[in-house]
Structures are given as C-alpha cells and as structure tokens.
C-alpha cells in the first residue's frame, strides 16, 4: 500500500514555487510549458523550490523564508550560472539548460522517500519575544497591546468613509506571484482598498545584465525584423502572465506557446488569440474601468501601449527613418484604461509581426533611444523606472483585484531597468 501510494505520488506533477532572480524571468515562465512540472503561486502548495538567476545578498533572507514555508518533504533546485551556497543542499542546474528533469527527479526522490527533506534555513527565533509575557503568557497586554504570539495588532486609522478602522500594513513581495520578482510594495490596506502604497524595494541584483534586444538596439543598429519579432513575443509573454492573473490559465498557455516561437507568419494566429481573449468578456467585466486622472498620468509617461491606449501617439519608432521607410505609424487606442492597453498590446503584436515580415534586411537607424515593448527606452531611463514612479499614485484607492490588474498592465521589467541604470552608473564611474 505504502509503495503504491509512493509510486502514484512520484508520478504526479512536481509542484514548483519558482523564485525568478535577475535575468531568469522568461526562462522561469517557459517552465509553465514543461512536462511534469507545475508552477504554483504559493510555497505552501509546492514540493520543490526553484531558485533561478542572480540574487543580491539583501534577498537571501527572503529566499530562506520562502524555502522554510514549503511543507515537508521539500527539496530545492538552484538554477544559476554558478554554484553558490544560497540554498545548501540544492541540486544545481546551469542557467541555459532545462531544469525540469532535475525538478522531477527531486520530486520523485522525495515521494519515494529516498531523499531526506531539507531542514529549515532560518534559525528558530520568534519575531518578538512573547512566551511567558503578559497575564496569560501570550505576549499581549490589555485589550490590544503587547505582541501576542510575537506580533502586534494592526492599528486604527481614519478612512475616507468616515470610519476609524484598522489599517492592515502588508508587505507584498519580493517573491510574490502578483508582482514581478524583486519588486516589494508596502501596502496599507483598509478593507479591500489600498489606501497607502509605497515602493519599498526594486531590483534583484546590482550586477544585472540583460542581453535584451532592445538594450542592444540602444548602442548599435539592429534588424527591424528581429526587433519587431522580439516585441511581438514580449507582448505575448506579457499577455500570458496577465491572462493567468485573470484566471484564464488555458488561454495563458496558448499565448505563451505563441510567444515562444512567434514568427512573421503567425500574425493570423495572434489575431485569433486576440479575438478569443475578447470573447472571454475580459474587457467587459474583468478589468478596472478607465479613470480620467490615472489615464492622464499614463498619457504623459511614454509607457508604450499604456500611453498609446489613451490616444497619445508617442512612439520612438516614428523618429526612425528606417521605420518610416517601412510605412510605420503607431497604433492608437482611445480612452485609456487597462482594457484599452490590453487590446492595444495584442494589436501591436499583430502589427509587429506584419512589420517584421516586410522589414527584410532593414536595420534600425536611430540608437540612443528606442521604443521597447514597455515604452521609451534610453540609457539611464527605462520605462519600468517611470512606471514604478507612477505606481503608488496609480493604485492608491483601488480595490485589491483592480490594483493587481493595473500593476500587471504596467508590465514592469526589472531586468531591463537594472541593465539600463547599471549602464549609466558604470559610465558615470568611468
């Protein structure tokens, strides 16, 4: 009986909580298509922890905390360029090779009981001393004082409804499925409304480098066909993530599969995907409605589709004679808002594939500032940096789900941000 259960369990999909460190976001996303591996949103649901890419020492404790949140029996896989001691005992897989067989092997060994579970990494210390304190030894005092069971309670604060109820401080990130990994938000939540938002930390590793096409285009002319295929793939990858957030997992896999290999001939397939997405009713009942002040903020921030969705024709490609010679004109939305940005991203993916088909050997003529899938990209000035600056104003006062959809629509890429700003600081040092 025991061996039957173990055999059955070993055949189940390995449930993986993945930490996507610097330079590994797309590779981790591709694992959603891997056989026998399932990425989950909470470490409590996982069997295996995958730690991918470079991570600064300041994130090490967070990684350890995530590790300790996994239930026993647990195993880890380190997927990085070089071995390190971040998670002792983790199997090492070189970045660039497929980790799914190592993950499956670890999962099977755990289920068969041939591999011991990993012990906790953090010392067994209470967050605050409480044992034996207070009249019942629970660490509290009075009605709401002290640190019962090691933590204080949330405190009262006035609210726009004229009621004084508790503000619940919530630190989201750095490894939350709701945010790009590396981003940490300090949220103050009253009910399901975010009444305070602060960007607490961004970036995964100071040594971030990115081989992204668009960063290469900053310094040298790049084939337009290559750039536009890259843009389409980027948009499709974003669509995959955003669809998942809205609960459409099957469509998300379809978008990801398209994004993996999209080529100029695929523009019909992308159009069909866009039509199927529209049929899910996502634009009618899922996404937050456009809001005047927020749309205006985005309209002035040169954030690519988010800006063009409100009808502002801001696109660096217009300044490039090579693009003009191909007859390029930016696609524009109307009214702004998340739904308009979604539609525009998908329409741009189609347009980019068509453009790539026409592009031939033409190379981009302008360097220094290019239009990345997220907006205007220049040395020292990444669209994600501007998006992060707007983020608190954009989501403050929103309901939780609306806020998460809005963050997703911004398409924040910390790798791109890190690479561009690291470039400037290196130049400044030189």
């Amino acid at each position: 009986m025991t061996s039957l259960i173990a055999r059955l369990a070993a055949g189940s999909d390995a449930r993986v909580f993945a930490i996507a460190g610097a330079g590994s976001r797309a590779a981790v996303q591709d694992l959603r298509l891997a056989d026998g591996v399932e990425l989950v949103d909470s470490p409590r649901a996982a069997d295996v922890l995958l730690v991918a890419g470079a991570l600064d020492p300041r994130h090490h404790d967070a990684v350890r905390r995530v590790h300790d949140a996994l239930p026993h029996p647990r195993a880890s896989v380190r997927w990085a360029g070089s071995r390190d001691v971040l998670v002792p005992g983790a199997a090492h897989v070189a970045l660039g090779t497929d980790p799914s067989s190592a993950i499956r092997a670890a999962h099977q060994a755990l289920m068969h009981g041939t591999m011991p579970t990993e012990p906790p990494l953090l010392p067994d210390e209470d967050p605050a001393p409480w044992r034996g304190v207070g009249p019942y030894g629970q660490g509290g005092s009075g009605m709401t004082g002290g640190t019962p069971y090691g933590r204080p309670m949330a405190e009262l604060a006035p609210d726009r409804d004229g009621l004084r109820l508790d503000l619940l401080p919530t630190r989201l990130g750095p490894f939350s499925s709701l945010l790009p990994h590396g981003l940490e938000l300090d949220l103050r939540v009253s009910g399901d409304i975010l009444v305070g938002v602060e960007v607490a930390a961004t970036g995964l590793a100071a040594s971030a480098t990115s081989a992204s096409l668009f960063i290469r285009a900053l310094t040298e002319p790049v084939s337009i066909a290559e750039l536009e295929i890259g843009r389409a793939r980027d948009h499709l990858r974003w669509t995959a993530d955003a669809l998942r957030l809205q609960g459409l997992r099957a469509l998300s896999l379809r978008a990801l599969r398209l994004g993996l290999h999209a080529a100029p001939g695929d523009h019909r397939a992308v159009e069909r995907l866009a039509a199927d997405i529209a049929r899910t009713g996502i634009y009618r009942w899922s996404l937050p409605a456009a809001d005047g002040a927020r749309t205006e903020l985005l309209a002035g921030a040169r954030l690519g589709p988010s800006t063009r969705a409100s009808g502002v024709g801001e696109d660096e490609r217009q300044a490039d004679p090579a693009y003009r010679s191909l007859g390029f004109a930016p696609l524009l939305g109307a009214g702004g808002g998340a739904a308009a940005a979604w539609r525009l991203r998908l329409a741009e993916a189609v347009r980019s594939l068509e453009l790539a088909g026409r592009g031939g050997d033409t190379r981009s003529a302008v360097t220094g500032a290019v239009e990345s899938p997220r907006g205007r990209l220049a040395l020292g000035d990444a669209p994600s940096g501007r998006a992060l600056g707007l983020l608190p104003t954009l989501i403050e006062g929103m309901e939780w789900g609306d806020a998460m959809a809005t963050i997703a629509a911004l398409d924040i890429d910390l790798d791109e941000l890190g690479a561009v700003t690291a470039g400037t600081s290196a130049e400044a040092a030189a």
Binding site: V63, R65, D161, L165, D166, T170, R171, L172
Partner: protein, 119 residues
C-alpha cells in the same frame, strides 16, 4: 407524527462526510511540520508581516449586507407561497407581486444610492 426518517438519513450522510474529512484533516495535522517559527510565517512574498492579519477589517460592502438582511426575509414568505401558488391562483400572484414590488423598490433605492459599489 412527522416523518423524520428522510431528514435523519440526509443528516447522517452529511455528518458522515463531515467526520470523514475532519478525521483525515486532524490526522494529517498531527504529523509534525512547521516546527520553527519562520516555517509558520504567513506568506505574502518572502517578507514577514509586521502585524497579525486579524484586524478590524473594513467591510466596505456593509450597506449591501444590511440590504441582504432585509431582503432575505422575503424568502421565508416565498416558500409557503410557492407551495400553494397553483391552488390559490391569481390571488397568490397579485399578493406576492405586490409584496415583491414593494421590496424591489428598496433594491432600486439602494442602486440609486450606489450601495452596491464601494471601490
């Protein structure tokens, strides 16, 4: 005497399922896990929370909850009404129509006052 047999059987089925799940849950929870304090930290992305999540939660849909309390009463009247509807005919239709019409005014008013929106 009322025939309690069917209700007894239905309750027995419910209790059996409840106890089966409860028993498995308790057995699973008895196995030691989460021994250290960091293993028990609630998950929000890798940082520990600064306070307990339990708080005076601002239930922003409370006007709707109050409306529910009042409207729910209508169901009590509608069950017996449904049983005698065919027998009583038009009288039943008109009387319940009046009752429901009055209650729907309340929903209409709540909608006008945006009681179903809170974001």
């Amino acid at each position: 005497m009322v025939d309690l047999g069917p209700l007894a059987i239905a309750s027995a089925v419910m209790v059996a399922a409840l106890l089966a799940v409860l028993g498995s849950w308790l057995r699973a929870a008895r196995r030691p896990s989460s021994r250290t304090a960091p293993e028990r930290v609630p998950f929000t992305g890798g940082q520990p929370p600064s306070v307990h999540a339990w708080s005076r939660y601002h239930v922003r849909y409370y006007p709707m909850a109050l409306l529910f309390l009042a409207f729910d009463m209508e169901m009590v009247f509608m069950y017996p009404w449904a049983v005698v509807f065919v027998g009583e005919g038009l009288v039943a239709m008109v009387e319940m129509g009046m009752f429901i019409g009055i209650l729907l005014l309340g929903v209409l008013y709540a909608w006008r006052e945006r009681a179903f929106r809170w974001t």
